[in-house]
Amino acid sequence: MKRLGKLINEQGIRTDGRKIDELRPIKIEAGVLKNADGSAYIEFGKNKIIVAVYGPKEVHPKHMALPDRSVLRCRYHMSPFSVQERKNPAPSRREIEISKVTREALEPALMLDDYPRTAIDVYIEVLQADGGSRCTGIAGASVALADAGINMRDLVAACAAGKVDDTIVLDINDEEDKEGQADMPIAYLPNLNQVSLMQVDGILSREEYGKCLDTAIEGCKKVYQLQKEALMKKYFGDEVDVGGSE
């Protein structure tokens, strides 16, 4: 399925010029949509994703509501122009699976018990995809959920690591995803040191597995700093003096 190519040169530089432990350029902006309760725009390299959160809100149909907590619903969707060959807008099986694992990655961080009989909807729209879009989506969703003011135990950071040319590398791009040997997207709650998303596609030895996981988690920690910065920037701007009391 995956082929060894010359994806890393003799100097340890990858096809897009990065070193093996380097993240792609990341951009995160919180609060970009007017109607949504919370939102974020995020880029990992060429991935461009926009996320909206609506909630907590009334559940329709009413019988779907839970008496003691909120219902979390996630939709990961790709716009038709987001990939090389134009994609039919109807949800594919891949999108449905990613929607599910995304929800399962975010749920442990959310304090859903605080909002009984409500729903929280997370909508992730991929405007341009380039390998690692599910991690980009989860990282953006986390910022959007915080922007919406939903109680969270922690932010959820996400990043993928993989094996390419027998080397463990951080944050694989589209080409490495297609031509590499293994790929491991991870979502991570940094303050609790817990993993909430883990998938592996490919072959990893026992040692490679541990190294891949550690690499992805280190990537997550860097993503987390950028998520924090995006939120601090929107809410506190350049303020240094903590006001809001008189």
Partner: protein, 233 residues
């Protein structure tokens, strides 16, 4: 004087060590206290809390809220109170115990599209909030401009002992009703006064997290109206 440590936080930020009590928007995990919302963390001997800067309005019994009538059944009006739950105003609250849907016309009192000032009479985790208009100054709002702000900014708009809102009212000669749910109604004798009051409200919403806001709002109002604002305390 009590020492209060304050800092800007996002969810998951560490705000105190285990021997402090989490009061609101803070959670104990292991032996540490973390923030659960974006806002301003305050840690004192009383405990750790975060004053949130975003989030939907969750009803609290006794709160004054401004709502919009959106429907009615035979026995109650359904009211949009800008929350994750619709409010219900029982017809009996208005017509009395002897209310009969055959005889009393609900639409004569409140129609879909009316704005009302009401209080949260009852609310808990198992049911939608129950509203009441049976109090002074509650009921249909006949006129005014509706200004919506984030419910998290309402305490700041009111200010310490009402200082912020009184400053704005005095300077613009407007009356401002503030719903805890983030809906406010501004009414006054001049269009300019209303515009200025709206500007001041939006300024408070925008800068709620900053220091010296009351002074800056005062300065803005003074420069717009050319009138000095008296001492308010």
């Amino acid at each position: 004087m009590q020492e209060i440590k304050r800092k800007y936080v996002v969810p998951g930020d560490l705000i105190a060590d285990g021997n402090v009590r989490p009061v609101s928007n803070a959670v104990r995990i292991g032996d540490k206290i973390f923030a659960t919302r974006i806002g301003i963390a305050e840690v004192s001997r009383e405990g750790a809390r975060v004053i949130p800067l975003s989030g939907v309005y969750i009803p609290k019994v006794g709160d004054l809220v401004i709502g919009k009538i959106i429907d009615h059944s035979a026995m109650a009006w359904e009211v949009n109170i800008n929350s994750c739950f619709p409010g219900h105003l029982p017809a009996q609250d208005v017509f009395g115990r002897e209310f009969s849907s055959a005889r009393d016309d609900m639409t004569a009192k409140f129609r879909v599209g009316d704005m009302i000032a009401c209080k949260i009479a009852a609310f808990d985790r198992s049911r939608d909030p129950l509203l009441t208009v049976a109090d002074k100054d509650l009921g249909k709002i006949p006129k005014g401009e509706i200004v919506r702000i984030s419910p998290t900014r309402v305490p700041r708009l009111i200010g310490k002992r009402g200082s912020m809102i009184q400053t704005i009212e005095q300077s613009t000669k407007c009356g401002i009703i503030i719903g805890q749910n983030g809906i406010t109604v501004v009414s006054g004798p001049t269009a300019d006064g209303i515009l200025l009051a709206v500007k001041a409200i939006k300024m408070v919403e925008e800068e709620a997290h900053t220091a010296n806001l009351t002074q800056r709002v005062k300065d803005m109002l003074q420069s717009e109206t050319g009138e000095k604002i008296g001492q308010i305390d």
